[in-house]
């Protein structure tokens, strides 16, 4: 007898949907009601919370800082991750597997420990600053604590492992013979990258950039720890408003704005890439 096996999938689907969507719905729903403070929510539908967010320079600046740090972190992940991923993908020895395993393991380390590692390295008496001061590149210690640069470094530190793994899988799909063919037919190393590697990895790179960007937009720990109460991003702000100010409606409003802006930015990027592709400026 033929069993309708998919029937078995319905209960977990309902549970999963309830856990994910319903909790989101209940929380986000609060954004449409007036905030009465101390966790109390009014019972009249209003859009005042959104008006407040969109007209208050304070909130808008936080939105901007969040987008900016996330975008910069995604770009730095690409810039730092690409050469690493390229080298590992083109390695012939068993070292590539060891290095990949190292990266996978490092992404499992909790962000808190990673961030404290960063703070140690970048502290005034840390390795980085002592080296830079000794060489004479800096005349005063550079701090990653409580500024946007620090938040970008922290976010990047958090996403670099994922970035390298994603880029590795992309570069591996480009046959080495294409590089050889380009080289033997007159392209030097830089031209090989410019005409072969970059265009062929562009779709994957875009996917990686968006994924890392999305991770950064929602990242709380690195931003909170390295922001040190001076740099605010939307996730940090949501935590503050919900936990310290106990203003659920405003917290929900910020969360909704964060969600919508991430979706809009992703759709916009995909649309732009499609346009470029249609114009044959980039490849599939």
């Amino acid at each position: 007898m033929w069993v309708r096996w998919w029937i078995l999938l319905i209960p977990p689907l309902i549970v999963g949907f309830t856990l994910v969507a319903a909790s989101q719905f209940v929380f986000l729903r609060a954004s449409f009601f007036e905030d009465l403070g101390l966790g109390r929510v009014g019972d009249e539908l209003v859009i005042g919370n959104y008006v407040q967010f969109l007209t208050d320079g304070f909130y808008l600046k936080i939105l901007w800082v969040t987008v900016k740090t996330s975008a910069l972190a995604a770009l730095s992940t690409l810039i730092l991750g690409f050469p690493v991923a390229y080298l590992i993908a083109r390695m012939r020895s068993s070292w590539s597997m060891i290095l990949l395993a190292g990266i996978v393991v490092s992404t499992f380390i909790t962000i808190v420990i990673k961030v404290y590692g960063l703070i140690v390295i970048f502290s005034a008496n840390g390795l980085f600053n002592q080296t830079m001061l000794a060489i004479g590149l800096f005349d005063k210690p550079f701090s990653v604590f409580g500024n946007e640069t620090g938040v970008v470094i922290g976010l990047m530190h958090f996403t670099l492992g994922f970035g390298v793994l994603l880029l590795y899988s992309i570069i591996q799909t480009i046959p080495k013979s294409l590089e050889s063919a380009a080289q033997i037919h007159g392209a030097n190393r830089w031209r090989v990258y410019y005409r072969i590697i970059f265009p062929l990895s562009l779709p994957g790179v875009t996917a990686m950039l968006l994924m890392v960007f999305n991770m950064c937009m929602g990242a709380f720990t690195s931003a909170a720890l390295l922001g040190g109460g001076r740099v605010f991003t939307l996730p940090v702000m949501i935590q503050r408003i919900v936990m310290m100010d106990i203003k659920y409606s405003m917290g929900a409003t910020i969360a909704a704005v964060l969600l919508v802006s991430v979706i809009v930015i992703n759709l916009l990027s995909i649309y732009l890439l499609r346009r470029l592709r249609a114009a044959h400026l980039v490849v599939v």
Partner: protein, 358 residues
């Protein structure tokens, strides 16, 4: 533009593996030479050294009169056809063919004319705006050749370019590649493990084995006068038997095979090795029912094991008491011999080759 290539005492090792022992080879201007050998014999390594993808550990590579040993690939002005074609999937056919021209800063108008000209050369006009994924294997092959010769190369390298094609297409492409090579009068180094392909296309063949060149010569030379049992066995089919030299006079050797059969064979090439063997090509063998009297120099008895019909040939395997059955090639219109029929296998002295054994 086409130039001669010379390898002078080139060696190459990868870690502890010796890929090439000392190799020397002179390739004439406009010559089509094939490096032939089983996998791992060093033929592809030799090609990659000429291309510049790997540097030799020792020795010199000359292109024309220039020492290119330390020149990077992009400055060697070489064209190459890859096993997987290596067409750039994100570029149109036109851009693919124009690639070598653009990298050498050829003016735009010139590139356009040249692309049209090259597509005519490879008999595939009008595909400029297509992408490589829209081509069949044979078409991709032609485009790959067009790209390799676009900026007239000093030498054309081909690394098993026909390996991925089916038999009919491969045979057609052999003729096609040879025609293009002749038309352009271009020095060509071709790598293959397929001896038929090598014989069909090449001016000369270099048979390689274990990182060394065993023999260089025309297809006829190598087939008729192999210098070792390896070459004899690799190029064409041959029956090999260990033999003991009893004596020689006037270029004819008296040999003993299978412990008790004395035969005579012509000594065509100098043999230094102590242990010898005789090789007889299957088409030189005659077969007859036991007891028949014929005018052949040598004759050994045996028993038919099997026969296979392949259209143009009838292969008969005969057990003569050696390790491997003797292969006799017959015309297909012969009456097939029953299995287990006692037969005599016969051949003439001048059709047997005295070779150094392994």
């Amino acid at each position: 533009m086409s130039q001669r290539v010379a390898l002078r005492n080139v060696t190459k090792r990868f870690g502890s593996v010796v890929a090439l022992k000392t190799i020397s080879l002179d390739i004439e201007e406009g010559e089509f030479i094939t490096l032939l050998g089983p996998s791992g014999c060093g033929k592809t390594t030799t090609l990659r050294l000429i291309a510049g993808f790997n540097d030799p550990d020792q020795g010199q590579i000359l292109l024309g009169d220039q020492d290119i040993t330390n020149l990077p690939p992009q400055k060697r002005e070489i064209g190459m056809v890859f096993q997987d074609y290596a067409l750039f999937p994100h570029l149109t056919i036109k851009e693919n063919i124009a690639f070598p021209l653009r990298e050498r800063r050829t003016p735009k108008e010139k590139i356009n004319d040249r692309v049209v000209e090259l597509l005519e050369l490879v008999r595939l006009p009008g595909v400029e705006e297509r992408y490589p994924s829209e081509l069949s294997g044979g078409q991709a092959q032609r485009i790959s050749v067009a790209r390799a010769v676009a900026y007239p190369p000093r030498v054309l390298l081909m690394d098993e370019p026909l390996g991925a094609l089916d038999l009919k297409l491969r045979e057609a492409m052999q003729l096609e590649l040879r025609r293009i090579q002749q038309e352009l009068q271009i020095t060509t180094v071709f790598v293959t493990h397929d001896q038929t392909e090598a014989m069909n296309m090449s001016d000369r063949i270099a048979v390689m084995r274990n990182g060394e060149i065993e023999q260089v010569g025309t297809a006829r030379d190598i087939y008729n006068f192999p210098q070792s049992s390896f070459v004899a066995d690799f190029v064409g089919r041959i029956n090999l038997l260990d033999a003991e030299l009893l004596g020689e006079s006037e270029g004819i050797a008296e040999l003993r095979i299978l412990n008790d059969v004395n035969i005579r064979a012509k000594i065509a090439t100098e043999v230094q090795s102590k242990s010898l063997c005789v090789g007889i090509r299957p088409e030189k063998l005659a077969i007859g029912r036991s007891g028949h009297k014929d005018r052949y120099d040598n004759q050994i008895p045996g028993k038919v094991i099997s026969s296979t019909f392949s259209g143009n040939l009838l292969d008969i395997f005969v057990d003569v008491g050696a390790d491997k059955p003797f292969l006799v090639e017959q015309r297909p219109d012969q009456v097939p011999l029953e299995i287990n029929t006692p037969v005599d296998v016969c051949w003439n002295a001048q059709d047997a080759l005295v070779l150094s054994a392994e």
